[in-house]
């Protein structure tokens, strides 16, 4: 009940905004819609907390601790992003970078995007999961090219094509999965239901599933932004409007990883080997290394953080690939705190680039003096991203690293190198931007500080105190994925 309500709200708000999206109070409507979904998702979470995992709408939807916390996360971040985008888009409109129609389009697509992700998270049907992933992509493609600049169009095109192809491969994988399932569960819709598949995963044909997972890995991996299928990500993040960058790397990547993890659970369950896990370890590690080294040479601030998203997704993928209670726990925690932190950082980045009228890091200076909230937000956010305690990312990296030390000690040097280089890459860029004197070209700005503050407080809390229910959820989810 709450569940369908959740989805309907975002659809309806999207539809409404499609018409009134350029109205003065459209941003407020947008915020209200997101806030509403957030409230409902909390109710849903409560339900799960009380009754545990359950099926809804027949067996079309499946809610368990693993996806419900992502749902709450999604709605929460979408709300804060809406709050941020109110200020941000107003400035953009005042600078005349986008007109009323595009404003409408932007708001509508934003909500549609949220809907797509919620659908992908909640559905029980792998086919529908695939469809909503595609939908999420398509909803954001035109947002990336919202500014109509040559580079924006180029980025959007790459995003469109690469993710399209990737997702197509994922579909082939799904087909194979269906083929394998059908022979056990018989013909018909419920052969694609994850719950059923998970029950019989032992009997699924390993050869087929191995084949299927390769396609799923490459397919969904493209959307997670795993090297070497990552090339769309920096472009899309750097060219789109900042709120979109925030939700892209804060939420979409998570959802894609979620899909991948669900499939991994099936495949390793069936093959009985650790092949899927190893594949994820490989991709994760490669992404971590490549991304962290790429960070060293960035000039564009949003590209920098796009690569950091790749890096962190790499870590999370690595953790899930590693398996085992602590690593998986760490992976989930990492998804959560990373999306909180990264979106917060993107908020600060957005304001910073608006203050200086450029995304070129060499020209962004003296933020702390210019606008303390933005400056400190950026600096602390980056500290969190770099894995400094007491922020939450440290907790997850702590678990993941120590788990690696036990299970695959020989990989720890690589992890160390990756993390260290990423740290250096982030700091040597961000520090001069935050510190120092105010440059003449910097313009004052009324920033939306609430979202950043909210996110950072949460990240801080998660670093020093992990609430019990979340912990138990993660434990349960770990059990499910075993």
């Amino acid at each position: 009940m709450t569940l369908t309500l959740l989805l309907w709200i975002s659809v309806l708000v999207a539809a409404a905004l499609a018409f009134i999206g350029d109205w003065r109070y459209a941003p407020e409507v947008n915020i209200a819609g997101s806030a509403l979904t957030f409230a409902v998702s909390l109710a849903l979470a409560l339900q799960v907390y009380q009754t545990g995992a359950f099926l809804a709408a027949g067996d079309f939807f499946f809610v368990d601790p693993f996806n419900v916390y992502l749902v709450v996360l999604t709605t929460f971040v979408s709300t804060t992003t809406a709050v941020f985008s109110r200020r941000y888009m107003r400035v953009e409109r005042d600078h005349g970078r986008i007109g009323p129609i595009r404003m409408r389009f932007y708001h509508a697509m934003f909500q549609l995007f949220i809907f797509a992700m919620l659908m992908a998270l909640l559905t029980n049907n792998l086919g529908v999961l695939w469809i909503s992933m595609e939908l999420a992509t398509l909803a954001t493609v035109l947002l990336v090219s919202l500014y109509r600049t040559p580079t924006a169009i180029e980025a959007a095109w790459k995003y469109f094509i690469l993710c399209g192809v990737g997702i197509a491969q994922a579909l082939f994988g799904t087909v194979l999965l269906y083929f394998a399932a059908e022979r056990v569960l018989g013909e018909g819709g419920n052969a694609l239901l994850w719950t059923n598949l998970n029950q019989v995963s032992g009997q699924l044909e390993p050869t087929v599933l191995r084949l299927a997972f390769v396609f799923l890995m490459v397919g969904y991996g493209t959307k997670v932004g795993l090297v070497p299928m990552h090339n769309w990500l920096p472009d899309a993040h750097s060219e789109g409007p900042t709120p979109i960058s925030a939700v892209l790397s804060g939420l979409l990547l998570n959802v894609a990883l979620y899909a991948l993890v669900r499939c991994k659970a099936l495949v390793d369950g069936s093959t009985g080997t650790h092949m899927a896990g190893n594949m994820m370890i490989g991709f994760g590690l490669l992404s971590l290394l490549v991304a962290s080294f790429s960070m060293l040479r960035q000039k564009d601030i949003k590209r920098l953080f796009a690569y950091s998203s790749i890096e962190h997704m790499g870590i999370a993928t690595f953790a899930f690939g590693l398996g085992g209670p602590i690593a998986t726990f760490g992976g989930m925690l990492h998804m959560l705190v990373h999306s909180l932190t990264k979106s917060a950082v993107f908020f600060s980045v957005g304001h910073a680039s608006q203050m200086h009228g450029t995304q070129e890091m060499a020209r962004i200076r003296g933020l702390i003096r210019g606008n303390p909230a933005v400056g400190w937000g950026l600096l602390l956010g980056v500290m969190a991203l770099a894995g400094m305690p007491p922020f939450g990312l440290f907790a997850s990296e702590f678990l993941i690293l120590t788990a690696t030390m036990k299970q695959m000690p020989l990989l720890t040097p690589l992890l160390l190198i990756g993390l260290a280089v990423a740290f250096a890459g982030l700091f040597r860029r961000v520090q001069p931007m935050a510190a120092g004197h105010i440059p003449p070209w910097q313009k004052p700005l009324a920033a939306a500080n609430l979202p950043v503050a909210l996110h950072m407080v949460l990240v801080l809390l998660l670093g020093i105190y992990l609430p019990g229910f979340l912990a138990t959820w993660f434990q349960v989810a770990v059990g499910l994925l075993k």
């Binding site: 192809v165 490459v218 299928m229 490549v290 080294f293 400094m388 120590t402 690696t404 993390l419 520090q431």
Partner: protein
């Protein structure tokens, strides 16, 4: 109210203060005294609790319901922790008092609220590190400390070199922290095999029995991490950058207290968590200690920035502490608990002493810099006249760090020597032969340190003003700063004159860790004689040295002044040389020249002399231009190549992404095909 409560309360006080600081951001003139008094009070509490723990040999633990599920924050106080609480507490007490005056100097120049807030946070972090009893809390505190001090180093952030220093510092600290993390990972893994979270408590790690290979890995990972923080050569590069960059009260705290936390970490991991180890671990620690000691002091000798010089001396003293540790480890592994105890006590005592006199010296340097607005010694000179207090207190620091009796530096170095001289007991003939050489190196270090501080004090305070700035406008610093320094100086003297009491207290720590202890105090008038090992082996009496010397001095002075000897002031004689100018004095660079000439091969020196003559003929030269550039070789050997390699790789990685979409498609296509071919 137990010792642990007092500590916890103090820490909460500091954290609360840090959070509350922004409230007073508008009224900084009020904020400074309030906040630093708070800090001083907290430090006092910490000293008290640490002292109680140490003197009564308490061992109390507690858990705080925060942190990860199944892994609440565990805290514990045992003699070892108690001792380090005392060390940090003392330094922070003195420095906090000093800061009341020092930080006021920034008013009007820049907002000091961040400085105050992060100062409090920094203190809290260090204290948490000491009381932490599980890997997670330890690392959180460790990095909290690093982050806070990073912001403190970056306080004067408009200077590019300060930013660079801060960045370098944070990078090294973070890499070190990761290494420590992995070390804990190894131990926790063996403890509970990663199925549960409670393997991360130190108790579980104590219980775990590691295979030699694993424990070696754990120890050296931890050693690397802690060494990076302690500034052990070759991981010291950040230290001489960060200490000068930071405000002086912060450098005092960093050098006096923060470096000690890494010593604490080494002892905790080596002796407490791991327990038994082969002798060569100690050997390696010893070697790094000697290396840091000698090179540290040599590099210090080449500096003419007062704070850089002091920073390099921190490297040296950490080296001396490590020497003690290494000896203690070796003795432990050969099962000589008493000797191990002696070496450990020496190390711990030097830890305490270094905390005090280095704190004092940095405070003094801060006073000088604030009074003159100058960091370069070549511009100073003759400051003893306008700065009587500061100079006298600084001199105490110099004497202590040079290891001259009856001050504290001597006692700990003397104990270390004794530990060295006990080596004939060792079964390893090779070690027996090599140890004395180590002792000789230590002696060299001591002598060079004396040289360096003759230079530091002489060039800064004595002689005549060298630079272009006038001495007249220099005023003595305020009472708060003087009080802070005086307290530090007094405790330096006290620890030097009455070592037996302190050593008696320290003796509880080896008892806790390795069950051995030294007969520190022997015979009648025990408090008078410090006799490690045995009375006829070696003995030292601080009180007597102090009393006899001062008595003789007093007597001679009186004898000579019964008939008021008239003292006539006259211009310099200088072998009858007439027109002598301040420019003719020895500069810091000139003073270090002989050593530079003798041991130059250790440095990367560029020296060029240029004769400038109107008629270009060297003999007719009317003035000479002299250029000297001394670099740390280690940077060129170790760090520059790494950076180069990283950027090279980055360039290669960049090639992956060259813009054409077909290529990107090809990547994903090829990936698919390859995976299918090999896994499908």
């Amino acid at each position: 109210m137990t010792a642990l409560d007092i500590t916890g309360f103090s820490i909460l006080l500091l954290l609360g203060g840090a959070i509350a600081c922004p409230l007073l951001a508008r009224r900084e003139r009020l904020l400074i005294p309030v906040a630093f008094t708070l800090a001083a009070l907290a430090s006092g509490g910490v000293i008290l609790s640490g002292f109680l723990t140490l003197s009564q040999g308490l061992n109390s633990a507690a858990t705080i319901p925060l942190g990860l599920p199944g892994l609440p924050f565990n805290v514990r106080l045992d003699p070892l922790a108690g001792f380090f609480l005392v060390v940090i507490g003392l330094v922070s007490l003195f420095v906090s008092i000093y800061s009341i005056g020092y930080v006021r100097g920034y008013l009007g120049q820049r907002p000091v609220t961040p400085l105050v807030a992060f100062y409090l946070l920094f203190l809290a972090g260090m204290l948490l590190v000491i009381v932490a009893d599980d890997a997670y809390l330890f690392l959180v505190a460790w990095e909290l400390m690093a982050a806070a001090s990073y912001f403190l180093v970056m306080f004067e952030d408009e200077r590019a070199e300060n930013r660079r220093a801060a960045f370098l510092y944070l990078l090294v600290a973070h890499v070190g922290a990761l290494a420590i993390l992995l070390a804990f990972g190894v131990m926790a893994g063996v403890a509970t095999g990663y199925e549960r979270f409670d393997g991360y408590t130190f108790d579980a790690m104590r219980g775990a029995h590691l295979s030699p290979g694993w424990s070696t890995a754990a120890f050296f990972l931890a050693f690397f991490g802690f060494a990076a923080k302690a500034g052990v050569i070759p991981l010291h590069v950040w230290l001489p950058e960060a200490h000068p960059a930071a405000p002086s009260n912060v450098s005092a705290l960093m050098s006096g207290a923060m470096l000690k936390t890494s010593i604490y970490g080494m002892i905790r991991v080596g002796f407490d968590l791991l327990g038994e180890f082969p002798w060569w671990w100690g050997g390696i620690v010893l070697i790094f200690g000697l290396l840091s000691a000698v090179l540290g002091v040599l590099y210090a000798l080449m500096q003419h920035d007062l704070k850089r010089l002091l920073a390099y001396h921190s490297v040296e003293n950490i080296g001396i502490i490590l020497i003690g540790l290494g000896l203690s480890m070796i003795f432990t592994s050969f099962h000589f608990p008493a000797l191990a105890a002696l070496a450990l006590v020496a190390a711990l005592y030097h830890t305490l002493n270094h905390a005090l006199f280095k704190g004092l010296l940095f405070m003094g340097a801060g006073a000088v810099i604030q009074a003159t607005g100058e960091r370069n010694m070549e511009e100073m000179g003759g400051l003893i006249h306008p700065l009587p207090w500061t100079s006298a207190l600084f001199l105490v620091g110099c004497v202590s760090i040079s290891g001259l009796p009856p001050f504290n530096g001597f006692v700990s170095e003397w104990l270390t020597f004794q530990a060295f001289l006990l080596s004939p007991a060792l079964p390893q003939p090779l070690l027996r032969l090599l140890f004395p050489l180590g002792a000789a190196l230590l002696a060299l270090t001591g002598a060079l340190a004396a040289t360096c501080f003759v230079k530091a004090f002489g060039v800064t305070f004595l002689g005549a003003q060298r630079g272009h700035r006038k001495v007249e406008h220099v005023r003595e610093v305020g009472p708060a700063m003087r009080l802070g320094m005086t307290l530090a100086a007094v405790s330096c003297l006290a620890l030097g004159v009455l070592p037996t009491y302190a050593v008696g207290l320290l003796d509880r720590i080896p008892r806790q860790l390795m069950g051995g202890h030294i007969g520190a105090v022997a015979g009648r008038f025990g408090w008078l004689w410090l006799t490690p090992a045995s009375a006829e082996r070696a003995s030292y009496s601080g009180p007597l040295v102090f009393c006899v010397i001062s008595a003789v001095v007093a007597v001679t002075y009186l004898l000579l002044h019964v008939r008021g000897a008239s003292i006539r002031r006259a211009p310099l004689w200088d072998c009858g040389f007439e027109k002598i100018t301040p420019r003719m004095q020895y500069t810091a660079t000139a003073f270090a020249m002989p050593i530079r000439r003798v041991l130059g091969f250790l440095f990367d020196i560029r020296e060029q002399v240029e004769l400038i003559s109107p008629v270009n003929h060297p003999v007719m030269a009317d003035h000479i231009r002299y250029r000297l550039r001394i670099r740390d070789r280690i940077w060129g050997w170790l760090y520059a190549p790494q950076a180069k390699a990283a950027f090279w790789i980055a360039r290669q990685v960049g090639r992956l992404q060259q813009g054409r979409i077909q290529i990107y498609l090809l990547y994903s296509f090829v990936t698919l095909i390859v995976l299918l071919a090999f896994l499908g």
